[in-house]
């Protein structure tokens, strides 16, 4: 395939609440990715930073901030912000630069120092900002949206709280095996049930935490990889970064209302499903080809939604797929072998890059006790605020 780029290196800073600057996390991750690639920072022709909106001014110009920390060396620089999809858009930007011949080697970095408790909008009275409005007018935090989706699944598909807890049990077992995860303890269904309700029907252990963390990738042209002596690198074959189609009829963060379907019939597929489909079409593969998937489990219930949106099963069949063990290690299609956000927490601009790091480890066969046997095709998917969503497909 002519549209492919090589992944030469992947690196991370462990997730946690470390109380340090996002610059430090990103720099550690970048150095790890460069070491993994066997390249010097001065070999890099372009750096793409995934932005954070916290951390003040430097957070908005992450590319140059990381470049300065690594030592100015004149590389091309880009900074991208797309909420939770920032990392995937950074990967997409790097890939486009390589395919356009603008750079042979691109370093992609995302890192964040998360606030305690709920994410919240920046200060000031900003009634023109939908994110500000949903807090000011409704007090609607991110978990309240997760609660709405979870309750809707219970009503429409018959999912239960026990099904949701099963997702946490599965993901925590994987996170316990991942040295970069924040939570490295297996969680039982009883512990989920005993945790406090945050947004009915979801409990504390159903919802991902906010965390610090960093992740980085070194991407290159296939030609450079060959010259570098890597004959069969993990390759990125698709990066979808599509927007929803009007009318978007599923209530979406951070909106107070959906579009109206009164003038135009709603599209046949939801926004999340279109993110995956675009990636499948670009890569020339389908859900049946996947060896594993990393999905944005902002809540346990949302992971089940992704099963359906990725086409791993039919609508309403996600809980059955989970109960049958298909998405567990050793199953037909293991999901969140990294431990997922359940084990990492959200470090917003880093998380989508961390997902790709897991795909790379798995496709190289370097995932240790988490290894999915014979992994050949892997997909990651995420969704950010304001109509951002991305999926990456990597192959071996």
């Amino acid at each position: 395939m002519t549209g492919e780029v090589a992944v030469l290196g992947a690196g991370m800073h462990p997730w946690g609440k470390w109380g340090r600057s996002f610059v430090e996390y990103g720099t550690v991750a970048a150095r790890a990715a460069l070491a993994d690639a066997g390249l010097d920072w001065r070999d890099v022709g372009s750096i793409v930073g995934a932005d954070t909106v916290r951390g003040g001014y430097p957070g908005y110009v992450a590319g140059a901030t990381f470049a300065k920390a690594l030592g100015w060396q004149g590389a091309r620089v880009t900074s991208v912000y797309a909420a939770c999809a920032s990392g995937a858009q950074a990967v997409g930007t790097a890939r486009a630069q390589i395919l356009a011949g603008l750079a042979d080697v691109v370093l992609v970095v995302g890192a964040d120092s998360a606030p305690k408790g709920f994410f919240r909008p920046a200060g000031g009275d900003r009634a023109d900002d939908p994110d500000w409005l949903r807090f000011r007018v409704l007090g609607a935090t991110n978990p309240t949206y997760f609660g709405l989706y979870a309750r809707r699944r219970m009503a429409v598909h018959g999912d239960t709280r026990e099904d949701f807890a099963r997702v946490k049990v599965k993901n925590s077992a994987m996170g316990a095996l991942n040295p970069h995860a924040r939570y490295r303890k297996r969680v039982t269904a009883e512990e989920v049930a005993a945790s406090a309700v945050v947004a009915d029907p979801l409990r504390l252990l159903d919802i991902c935490a906010t965390s610090d963390g960093g992740a980085a990738l070194v991407l290159s042209s296939m030609e450079f990889a060959r010259r570098h002596g890597v004959a069969e690198p993990v390759r990125i074959r698709a990066v979808s970064t599509v927007t929803p189609r009007y009318p978007n009829t599923v209530l979406d963060l951070p909106d107070i209302a959906t579009d109206s379907a009164v003038a135009v019939a709603p599209p046949d597929e939801t926004f999340r499903a279109s993110i995956a489909r675009a990636a499948y079409e670009e890569a020339g593969v389908g859900p049946e080809d996947l060896s594993l998937a990393e999905v944005y489990d902002l809540s346990t219930a949302l992971e089940l939604q992704w099963y359906e949106d990725l086409g791993l099963c039919g609508e309403g069949e996600a809980a059955k797929l989970l109960r049958d063990g298909a998405t567990a290690p050793g199953g037909r299609i293991p999901v969140n072998s990294s431990g997922g956000l359940a084990s990492f927490g959200e470090a917003v601009p880093a998380q989508a890059i961390a997902q790709v790091c897991e795909l790379v480890r798995q496709l190289r066969g370097e995932a240790g006790e988490r290894q999915v046997a014979g992994a050949r095709v892997a997909l990651s998917a995420n969704q950010g605020l304001f109509g951002h969503g991305s999926a990456v497909i990597a192959v071996r």
């Binding site: 500000w132 007090g139 309240t144 989706y149 009915d200 209530l251 107070i256 959906t258 109206s260 009164v262």
Partner: protein, 141 residues
């Protein structure tokens, strides 16, 4: 705070949106600049009162104190309230709102009919900020 999102009192209370004169799309919160239907050449956006009643699409609550800019008194214990996403059949859209005080998730079900009523979001010595709230009508699914 959010001028022109609702109007009236008591039984006359209604959410206000806008409707495109060219394609009939309805917008809430109101869209006053451009019609967002990509197939629409664009028409005048006229204020329209939304349906008073709708059915519960989903619901949840917030058991932990919502952060600023939500206004709550940190000296007082946090009192959770329910949030309801309501499907308006005529406008074919879903609108999120707080439930009236006293209604909890235990009182709600997907598909239940609710109606919009005025409520108080928060108040200080000089001002009471009004808002819309959803209240079950007693009609089932």
């Amino acid at each position: 705070m959010v001028a022109g999102w609702f109007t009236g009192e008591g039984e006359g209370f209604r959410l206000l949106g806008t409707r495109c004169a060219a394609c009939a799309s309805v917008f809430f919160p109101r869209e006053d600049a451009f019609c967002r239907n990509p197939a629409c050449p664009g028409g005048e956006l006229r204020e329209v009162a939304l349906s008073r009643r709708g059915r519960v699409w989903s619901y949840t609550d917030g058991r932990y104190r919502a952060p600023s800019p939500y206004v709550s008194d940190p000296e007082l214990p946090w009192e959770p309230y329910a949030l309801i996403a309501v499907e308006l059949a005529e406008e074919r859209l879903v609108v999120l709102g707080q439930a009236v005080p006293g209604v909890t998730c235990a009182d709600l079900a997907v598909g239940m009919e609710v109606e919009v009523v005025p409520g108080v979001l928060n108040e200080d010595a000089e001002t009471a900020w009004t808002t819309w709230q959803w209240r079950p009508t007693g009609a089932g699914t």
